[in-house]
């Protein structure tokens, strides 16, 4: 179901993918995405679930301007990032997109605060201290701010990664199984943070092989090998 507000306020989706196909391997023998289309609206929390290997991460990479699809068209705010130079795509990523990964992907030599701030670096911004403090407090990282990743628990790491994705206030967040390695309590914190983000002018696309996530999100799509299941 599409959020009512979206239907009223933003008929046009912020991110669209039309008839995307992607194959891997020699002669493109492994077909992963086959002619799929998807929209992400403003202030929407969209989740996609599906079995392992069905192409969820591949889809996120394509939407995240990191991998050119073989066929089909991606549009972010009405322009196709794959028609631009790779340096422009890097700029789009830093301005519009926040990434969250299942295995956090924190920079091992930076402490929590530096890890969060580093995503503002490509924008040439000096990150907003109030925002940083707010994120640290919301994500319960206050007391961990000077710790490096090796000193953090999985939950703390993922909360740091979420703060890093949010510090630049990107237009949308792509979260690849963000709760995959977390306990119940941390799962709840993460989902709540993403929920709040989508409620505050951002969009979130979260993928997971866990079908239970659908009850937390505005809209849910089920993916099976190559495409979405008809609902």
């Amino acid at each position: 179901m599409i959020k009512e507000s979206n239907l009223v306020k933003n008929i046009k989706p912020f991110v669209t993918a039309k008839k995307i196909s992607k194959s891997y391997g020699n002669n493109n023998s492994v077909v992963v995405l086959n002619n799929i289309s998807i929209d992400l609206f403003r202030e929407e929390f969209l989740s996609i679930s599906g079995p392992s290997g069905c192409g969820k991460t591949t889809l996120l990479m394509i939407l995240g301007c990191l991998m050119n699809p073989d066929n089909g068209e991606v549009k972010i705010d009405n322009f196709n990032p794959y028609k631009k130079k790779s340096s422009d795509r890097a700029k789009i990523r830093s301005e519009f997109i926040g990434f969250i990964f299942q295995d956090f992907k924190l920079i091992p030599y930076l402490n929590v605060m530096e890890n969060i701030r580093c995503s503002a670096l490509p924008l040439g911004q000096i990150s907003d201290n109030d925002k940083l403090e707010k994120l640290l407090s919301i994500l319960k990282l206050d007391h961990r701010r000077l710790h490096v990743p090796s000193q953090l628990s999985a939950g703390e790491k993922q909360r740091t990664a979420i703060a890093r994705a949010m510090i630049t206030s990107p237009r949308f967040i792509l979260a690849d199984e963000p709760t995959g390695n977390l306990d119940e309590e941390n799962t709840e914190i993460v989902l709540k943070a993403l929920r709040d983000y989508s409620n505050n002018n951002g969009s979130v696309l979260m993928v997971s092989h866990d079908t239970n996530i659908e009850c937390f999100t505005d809209r849910h799509l089920k993916m099976s090998a190559g495409g979405f299941e008809e609902k």
Binding site: T57, M61, G64, L66, M67, S86, S87, A90, K91, I92, R93, S94, E95, I97, F99, F101, Q102, D103, K105, L106, I107, P108, Y109, L110, E114, R117, C118, S119, A120, L121, P122, L123, I126, S127, R164, D176, E177, G180
Partner: protein
Amino acid sequence: MNIRLLVFREIRFNLGGFTAGVLAIFLSLISYLIAGSINADLRINTSKKLQLMNSELNEEVTALEDGIRKSMKGLGFNIYIYPENQDLSAVYERGYGDKTMPENYVSKLANSKIIHINHLLPRLTEMVDWSEKDRSVLLIGVRGEVPIAYRGPNIKKPLINPVKEGSIVLGYELHHAYGLKVGDKVNFLDDEYTVSITHKRRGTVDDISLWMNLSLVQKILNKEDKINTILALECNCESLDRLGEIRNEIHKILPETKIIEKESRALARAEARNLTKFTGEKQIQNFLQSKKELIHIQSIFSFGFVIIICILCSFWISHLTISNINQRLIEIGTFTAIGFGGKKIMILILSRVLLMGLIGGMLAVLLFVITCPNVFGYDVYKNVTNNFSFIIIVLIAPLTLAVMSAWIPVLRAVLKDPVDVLRND
């Protein structure tokens, strides 16, 4: 938060690899500086030794020259003037010349302003058969001394008086063999002469010589107004190349003549001096040549060694960079996802490498500046550092070596697709 902080944090995190890279650069540069110092040391020592050898030789030659000057001082020397076409080997063989020149040559000299010559004695000499005694004699026609006009008549007492017409002077063999004494009459080639002087034994060709008046001899030999040599006695010239100077002077007046010096002690010493100078210079040349070869070989070997070290260090740095990048693939992928462009990622990795070069280079220079003056001496230190190429190499080489060694791995890292490492596994 900036790139610099990222670079420093990463270096602190992977300090081991970074230190190893610094060490590689340090080793490369310090080996270059040591090789340069060793070569400069050899060069400087060689030129010092060369200076010493030169000054020793100069001293030796100067001492010999002093000796020559002393032995020449106040002591005139004698020269012979021959016609230009006179074969000198004939002169040395026979003791006299067979070619003739006009007698007025001597008056030309006598009327010139010649300064180095004091006495001029023209002669006409020829081996003739003394038919009355059935033997060969060396017939010498002499005119006595020809006064040098501008000096006036009586400045010096004439060395040799002329033989009067009708008189004859006999060498030892000639009067001794026939028991002739001063005042005796003797027949020579159909004419009668009075013996005016009999010489003592000299052990030279003089002993079989017979002196007569020049004009008479010219008539006897059918060589009117001809002479074959001018003996110039008591020549004075203080310079070492006295013969050269006199030759110059005489040739200006009598260009068609040849001048040789009668053997003298001074001449022998001058020859010794020339020989000493020649062998000394030869020795110095040999020394220089062998040292030059040594310097050449040493610099080839030492710089070959440096190049090998640099190549090894370059491999080392490149290996370190590859392993650093492999360690950081996820980090690089993450930075890409966050929005770092290829350029920023390149700067991130290359800054680390440049810092390696900078610190390694600085440490090498520091060690060199502290130790070189003590180990090799200040001269060598100055020689190595007072050099434009030194500054260039010290400033640029460590950085270039570091960047060049890391370039390919860095490029590969930047061009690598970040998706592979970002996929959750």
